[in-house]
Symmetry: C2
């Protein structure tokens, strides 16, 4: 026996489908006893409204599509958690779709959402603006997170340049001068901005025009490899600033392997403040990931209900989190939670 439909309920309660709809959706213009009969019939038949049908006729799905790049661990968890919290508070569901590096994938992911969601949150640090805009559905509101977006599209950005600058100044402030940067994958927006911020800051505050830059790809292994290469090359360095925490962790492992002490001989810093960073006492720039996710949903739902200034672009400054990997060794890192 298939699930009961609204017509089954109508038959059972001996009313029309319109009355059933009205009764169950809390309309005013219905007699109390009719409503009671309908509710009883629905209960008896175990009726549950068909959300798909409803969203078709109401042109409102009460769902928002989330398109993310291939999900790097904790980052993913955090942003989805933030979105989910906000979305469920506002009565929305989250429809997930991750796209891989391939552009066709992205197109497919975006298209598959049409007619299923009321709006989109898109995060695509690896696509360029033109490609992205060409593939965005025209009539679906969207909020872009960390994307190379054209102006006029609602967007949330992390101030990577400013964050890198803050970190460089912190390192300089602890007396380090020979700072190496390990980059993220080429083509990645965050990676490029962090590198640019690093270069800018080194020129401006250290007077270094051509600082040491090692290629990486955001993975722990890349951080370790870059560090081993650095050591093998005999470069003299007193700090490594990795473009994200995972690589910074890789750096630390490689340094320990090589018997280099952190932070005495070489300081290490990362970017993101993933949960592991705290336990490893890693100095990093905290990106409020969950907060950004929540905000993206807030912005989107506001836009859907006509509130707020949709086109605004917001820049979120990460916050410096100083821990033991860049400070003089004083017994133990702080135990703040």
């Amino acid at each position: 026996m298939a699930q009961a439909t609204i017509r089954d309920v109508a038959r059972e309660a001996e009313v029309s489908v319109a009355s059933v709809s009205r009764a169950l959706n809390g309309a005013e213009n219905i007699r109390a006893d009719t409503r009671a009969r309908v509710v009883a019939a629905a209960e008896k038949l175990g009726y549950v409204p068909h959300a798909g049908a409803r969203s078709l006729s109401m042109a409102r799905a009460h769902a928002i599509g989330v398109v993310l790049p291939d999900l790097h661990g904790e980052f993913f968890s955090e942003i989805v958690r933030g979105m989910d919290k906000e979305a469920s508070a506002r009565g929305f569901h989250l429809l997930l779709s991750n796209m891989h590096a391939d552009l066709n994938d992205a197109v497919h992911a975006l298209r598959a959402m049409r007619g299923r969601v009321d709006g989109l949150v898109v995060m695509a640090p690896h696509l360029d603006a033109a490609e992205l805009m060409r593939n965005m559905p025209q009539n679906v509101p969207a909020v872009l997170v960390n994307c190379r977006a054209d102006q006029g599209t609602p967007a949330l950005l992390v101030d990577n340049v400013g964050g890198a600058d803050t970190m460089v100044r912190h390192l300089l402030g602890t007396g380090r001068r020979a700072i190496a940067h390990v980059t993220g994958p080429s083509g990645n927006l965050d990676a490029e901005e962090r590198l640019a911020g690093f270069r800018l800051s080194m020129r401006r505050h250290a007077g270094v025009d051509d600082p040491l830059v090692l290629p990486g790809d955001f993975s722990e292994e890349a951080g370790a490899a870059a560090t081993r290469a650095l050591i093998a090359g005999g470069q003299r360095v007193d700090a490594i600033f990795a473009a994200n925490d995972m690589m910074a962790i890789g750096c630390m492992l490689a340094l320990r392997e090589a018997g280099v002490s952190v932070p005495e001989q070489i300081a290490v810093a990362g970017f993101d403040d993933i949960p592991v960073a705290r336990y490893l006492h890693l100095t990093t720039m905290r990106v409020p990931i969950a907060g950004i996710g929540a905000l993206a949903v807030t912005r989107l739902t506001d836009q859907l209900s006509g509130r707020g200034n949709p086109a605004a672009t917001e820049l979120h400054a990460p916050e410096l989190e100083v821990r033991a990997t860049t400070t003089a060794h004083k017994k133990e890192g702080r135990t703040r939670t």
Copy 2:
């Protein structure tokens, strides 16, 4: 101008809607030039099929609902990653919904999925079987993960009892006898099973009928608090087995605060093997979280297409991961990745 519909495309291509549908869905019975005209028209109008309408008429949403309890960090990320990978490989989307401890929440979450998804993956270690089954939609296939389920419902379970037993035997094997257990929240299935396994194993292999059990709630702070209470109480213990890794981490922090050395004076072990555990050299039972997520989706989609043995219950044994917190201190933990 609203999004183009299939009728707009039909008008543009001067054919019927049926032909448009056939042309775009790769049906055989359509002339090549007709198909070309349709494709051109669709392209010109920027037509994207309305997934909601399609799933209504086909009674197939190509989406699976995921209902999770309030998401504890890494666990969540891992299981969703596993599901997403498998789901997108099979052409399914994931519709997320987290329910909080409240039962009404759970009911609401389950109902809201009807008509939006083809099946459900439900994880609810805090609800009891009767409640759960009463609230499961009747005609929606579902796979339960770590639930108190009636038999006959497809389910995936972690062998918590066996895992706890393995850990106890490991600790006994390293010479520890006075082992305390820090439990998870009461009412939680995993917590109860792990406690039961601990008690069973202590009786059977250590001859201890009433081992020391400290209440916890799976949080880092609870682990620390339990440990402080233990120390303050002057209990003599040479190992702490926490019901999950977060609490084990809390234990380690509290022990360090108190100047107790790990593992020399007290060994510490956890359960789950969250990513952080490796970096902290925490001995733990590895639960293949992502694998279970992927498997849940596989089971569900198989069931949807009539393959596989739907009603089977599978038990997944976690694997002992020995690290430095339970082994004699020999300079440094292994650096395996």
